[in-house]
Amino acid sequence: MKFILMRAAITCLCLSWAWCLSVVTAMAAPDAQASTTWIKLTTKQYQQSIRDIFGSSIVVTGRFEPDHRDQGLLAVGASRAGVSDAGLEMYDGLARNISGQIVSERNRTTLIPCSPKKTNVSDDACAKRVIADAGRLLFRRALTKDEVQLQVDIARNVTKATGDFYDGLAAALSNLLISPDFLFRFQRLEADRSHPGKYRLDGYSKAANLSFFLWNSTPDDQLLAAAERGELHTAAGLQRQVDRLLSSPNLETGVRAFFLDMLGFDKFETLSKDANFFPRFTVKVKEEAQEQTLRTIVDHLLVRQGDYRELLTTPQTFLTASLAALYGLPLADLTDNGQPDRWYPYRYADDDPRVGLLAQASFVALHSPSGRTSPTDRGKALREVLLCQTVPPPPANVEFQSLEDISNPKFKTTRDRLTAHRSDAVCAGCHRITDPIGLALENFDSSGGFRTTENGAAIDTSGDIRGKKFDKPRELYTVLSTEPSLTSCVAKRAYGFGTGRMPPEKDEHWAAILERFKSSNYNMVALLEAIATSDLFYSPPEKLLQAAASKE
């Protein structure tokens, strides 16, 4: 049976059972094949590309137009995004700032491969070399002769006006950085020589998709060279590059970026907790909570090559002294007085309620209002974020009184209040399915702190999901880790992260990817490899093919 989705949030949902079903059915329709002719770089991809192309001496400072989430991912939203006036002004500011840094006296000797004969006059040969080299990495393809010449002309004209070669070079670089060829990943078609009459993505497009998928960054020189040699169109050539990317330390960057996107950590930017209630939830803890989860993921999935499902139950994590205090644990920080806190590996007892990702503040605090918990919010988040289910919004005109009346001595715990709320038959249907997950996580307060009582009453964390009973958080994690949608969800999201669109549900290639993931015991690297070597991953968007066909 397909998982029925539900809506939650302590802000209630009074939906009839039948209504709930109808909505879910409607929303469970297969994702329409998204057309993607170009994908805007996300903020992280822009930053990572600049870092990888120009090195860490170039600091990307400045604001970006916010990324939008679609189908659970910013990376999918990026394939639908345009550019606003304000956004372009930001790109312009970034471009001028970055190009200024590149040609600055501090950086020019290391970043610019040639020097002009005289700094106060133009030097076309040197300008050409810089523009062609940087342009290839920025545009993820070789520039045409005309494109290079256009920027060389600009560099020469500006140098003439200001009397400084580097002003001219900065103007040209700035133009490359604000160009759509840098800001958008174009998906280009070419005739498929091995299948006459058919089209395929060109090698450069494939290289960029692969690199942003595994490294969240622009293709390096080797990958571009492989694309130029046509190697990405052969199974062996592609496999060589996939192997190389998967064994690179940059894979950690890519995996972090993927989970940062999938787990919705961008929401941390606007997360705040009432410090009067949650004094341990400091600004530092807010940052460390995200880092804890990313470290746990990298350690479990990449270092230990563990089973993805065990992320929900792994006793292994990393803590700082501040996080330990939040979770109510002793942790000896042996750092000297006055020095920054350190990270320590930490292992819980196997049955500790705090094991696994769901117990981490990056989940329980991120999906809680600032003052108290919302089991409904947490249940909804879990289903949407980790199981790829969609939850319909609550209807209007709901009676909230029993939910908000936190002074009523009859209702000490959130469970009490939700139970009262569910006495309304209209609400009961959906809440019965949403709330058990959230209620089982009630041992974690709104900030992620561990607790066993609420307003003096013991917290009951028992419940059941589709007949599978559990008594405490640890048992919930086990039940959830057996959900088939847990593993198919991460696979879908990984594919979406790489392509900017969701995979087709009924497709033999997709089925093969899922099978490879399963047979690897849900090894994340195996999943990434399966996707990165699949024909599906490189198949051109349908609309692009139609556009090509209509031109013929």
């Binding site: 057309s35 002719t37 170009w38 903020t43 400072t61 400045g62 604001r63 970006f64 639908r80 995004a81 345009g82 550019v83 606003s84 006036d85 304000a86 956004g87 372009l88 002004e89 930001m90 312009d92 500011g93 970034l94 256009l150 920027q151 600009i154 004209n157 500006v158 006006a161 200001t162 103007a171 700035s174 133009n175 604000i178 160009s179 759509p180 060829d181 800001l183 958008f184 174009f186 280009r188 930017e269 606007t270 705040s272 907790k273 009432d274 410090a275 009067n276 004094p279 400091t282 600004v283 530092k284 006055g338 600032s370 609309k543 692009l544 139609q546 556009a547």
Partner: protein
Amino acid sequence: MNKFKLTRRGVLRGMMAGGACTVGLPLLDCLLDGNGLAYADGSPIPPRLVTWFWGLGIGEGAWIPKTSGKDYELPRQFKMLQPLKHKFNLFSGGQVFLEGGSNTTHFTGVQGLMTGKVSSAASDYTRSLDTIIGDHISGSTRFRSIEIACDGNPTACWSARETGRQPAEVSPVALYARLFGAEFKDPNAAEFTPDPAIVMRRSVLSAVSEQRLRIMKSVPADDKARLDSYFTSLRALEQRLEIQMKKPEPLEACTVPSAPQGDEAEPSTLAVDAMARHELFGELVAHALACGQTRVVNMCITQGMSGLRREGDPTSHHTYTHEEPIDPQLGYQVNCAWFQDLYLNALLQFATKLDSIKEGDQTLLDRIVLFAYTDHGAPRLHSVLDYPVLIFGNGGGRFKTGLHIAGRGDPVTRVGFTLQQAMGVPAGDWGSGANRVTAPYLEAMV
């Protein structure tokens, strides 16, 4: 000769009434388009910023309103601002994180609030909030910014650039001369030469926009609109540069006032003197803003360690904060409250003056942003917790107003960051260490 002394309010009023202040306000409506939000040629009226500093916080006791959002009740400490409640936001609960350093009183807190970082070295105080915003909005005005101190201390002002804190004007007479003296040029007669750097940027950008045809050709019809948004935005950027290359709209409303007679202001520690001076400065600031002389003004009604006192009383406000017990019945320091009330009354008068000046169908207060801040939370302990910050005006539609926004332990830098974002500063974060913020108070932004 009628010697001018800036010691009493009455004298000052007399000076201003003597014709010194005949600057016509505001911008003539005829220069504005129908709803007054833009110049007749369609370019938007630039945002303007006034910062307003008072020393020593707002007092012990519960000044944080019980509810946040629109329908909150102003606490005793701010009750006098009720007439303008719909025109400002009250930010509470923000704090400066010391990051293991010590609280250098009257410095560290403001440093955190105004520069986003804390450090015990005074030389580390650089690039304050107003200059960050000013660099973005100040455009081609005559003065990048104007700094003013009402208590006679030229170092009282918190505005800083890379070179350190900027000295403040302490004399209204001197400021008057600076603004409307010999160097003042009637905008109607001003000569205009376009900035060559702007001209160059404009021409360089055309190389990007010229690619439009090439790229659009290859995009399927469905996605043309999406890609076109990029080129439309690029065109908007080019247009903004073009506007800067043209002679600005004339400001016919501004007339050159005659110079007042008088001396420079003497330092004074009497609170009434400072308040009178503040009123006079306020008048000049209103004119300077309306006449486009500057888009950034920094006013300090006291220095952090306010030495202001009542006539006949040797004890300054600052000394009272340390020595005066908290009244057990009232829950606050009674004498300190007297000073706080005095300052906030001055703020109210200033804001009311700005609100009385019409610009289109709004007022000058609506059009600008008036950012009022202080150096400490609870004054007695000189704490860096629970900072009160007020933001008046909507910056010409950039802010929502009438709200209490409860920070609840947020870094107070979040308020300054919100201001930056609302004013269009292109930054994704502000501050360092624990005082670094990445999220503005979206509820306050339009």
